[in-house]
């Protein structure tokens, strides 16, 4: 069941250009891999949606890319600071897969350490912009890494049960290769509980809230709006 609690920052660790933010768990459940949490971003009005990266005993850990004022505030948190955490939210990955293959790009690898742990360390193919970004691959066991201009889709075996998370062009390419894939999407989100209608994406021809219908969708369900 989802809860909202003020939790302590336990540690902040650099992972390549990203930040792994570790919080004490309190009574908050980690949920299923691919589910997300709304993290209070100090000094900002709205919390930020983040999928869970790792669930060590007593902790919740999030891999964050500091790309704007909210994520920068989260990445600047110090041990002992407290932020409100609300979750777990949304639908995670289905785990009834026979031959899982994790396919990730950039900060999209964030949910994979926890997903890999739950699935028993399946193979993963991860793509990054630079070798520095690729340091995040160390969090994912059995990972094969490619750096641009090589694309992760060159390594995808479409006969596998693909579970993917990454930038939209990567997800579109994965969907074209593996129509049965599970894809984790992202969208700007104010609340995470279905109230704001801000995070809609087109699913089966209808605009639906990603926080309720997703963020993990079956590849055939989701058709991105034309830009």
């Amino acid at each position: 069941m989802r809860r909202r609690e003020a939790r302590n920052v336990v540690a902040r660790e650099p992972v390549g250009p990203y930040t792994l933010l570790r919080l004490d768990r309190g009574s908050i459940e980690p949920g299923a891999p691919g589910q997300f949490f709304m993290l209070e971003a100090p000094g900002r009005l709205l919390p930020r949606p983040m999928s869970l990266c790792l669930a060590p005993p007593g902790e919740l850990a999030f891999l964050i890319d500091a790309i704007g004022p909210g994520t920068r505030a989260l990445c600047a948190l110090e041990p002992g600071d407290r932020i409100h955490v609300f979750g777990p939210l949304g639908n995670g990955f289905r785990l009834d897969v026979e031959r899982p293959l994790l396919v990730g790009g950039g900060i999209g690898v964030a949910p994979f350490p926890y997903l890999s742990e739950v699935l028993g360390g399946p193979p993963a193919v991860l793509g990054f912009r630079t070798a520095h970004h690729a340091e995040a691959a160390a969090l994912v066991p059995n990972a094969e890494v490619v750096i641009e201009p090589t694309l992760v889709t060159e390594l995808v075996d479409p006969s596998c049960d693909v579970l993917a998370c990454g930038p939209e062009p990567m997800l579109e390419a994965v969907r074209a290769l593996a129509p049965g894939a599970q894809l984790a999407w992202e969208a700007p989100m104010a609340c995470g509980h279905g109230g704001c209608y801000g995070c809609v994406v087109e699913i089966d021809g209808v605009l639906q809230r990603l926080c309720i219908a997703g963020p993990v969708l079956n590849a055939h369900e989701h058709k991105e709006l034309a830009a």
Binding site: E40, L46, P188, G194, G195, G198, C199, L207, L225
Partner: protein, 275 residues
Amino acid sequence: MRLLNASGCLDALTAPEVALALDVFVTKTVTPLPRQGNPPVRIAETEHGMLNSIGLANPGIDRFLEETLPRLAELGVPLWVSVGGFDAAQYSASCARLDERPEVEALELNLSCPNVEEAAESAAEIVAACRAATSKPLWAKLSPALPQVPDVARAVAAAGADGLSLVNTIRGLALHPATGRPVLGTAVGGYSGPALKPIALAAVYACARAVDLPIVGMGGVMTGDDARDLLAVGATHIALGTVLFRDPFAPGRIRAELAGDSPRNTLTLDQASRV
């Protein structure tokens, strides 16, 4: 004093625990026909608030009455339905159909959504048409962007409104720092959050002096003190909007803060008006 949500800021079906902490649940605005709403991007955080450009996404009155309303009624929270339209006939037709539904306690007329074209008729004409269509209490939700909000308040009171909901969002725009282009798909959206509070206070203050109607005060309420300020200038009830995005459990917190000790607990309307 009753604690409500601002229309369009909470879905009681996806967050029932939040709706159950309120005295009244106000639905997202229902229009005669289904609306997909505006294309993404639909929300943008700004320095002192947020913009939305949802565009009255809703299933339409038919599906609302058939599917949504029975499920909402199961929650057991008193229900107000927010009614929208594009002319007075559309508003009054929806009111007539809602009039038949005992699950509905009252109707709020959304006369001021900043994300759709304004209805051709005036607020008072719409209220008069709805008054003829229903005996349920009618709350007129007004925009603070009107040049003379108290004049509109008097006009809707004369047309048969039972109360006022003050205020809706005001139009705003944000640019993406990297591209210099508008963040929202529609460029302009409704501005809400802490920045709206002084605007809401001014509207409630002026309307409370203009008409003898109860007022649901809303706009930038983040804390019990914010709610207390709106009550001090004449609000009867309080609605929570953007704060529910930040903290879905704000209703319980704000209720406790309102009940707690504060120097402003003893401030009367007259005292507040001299500040």
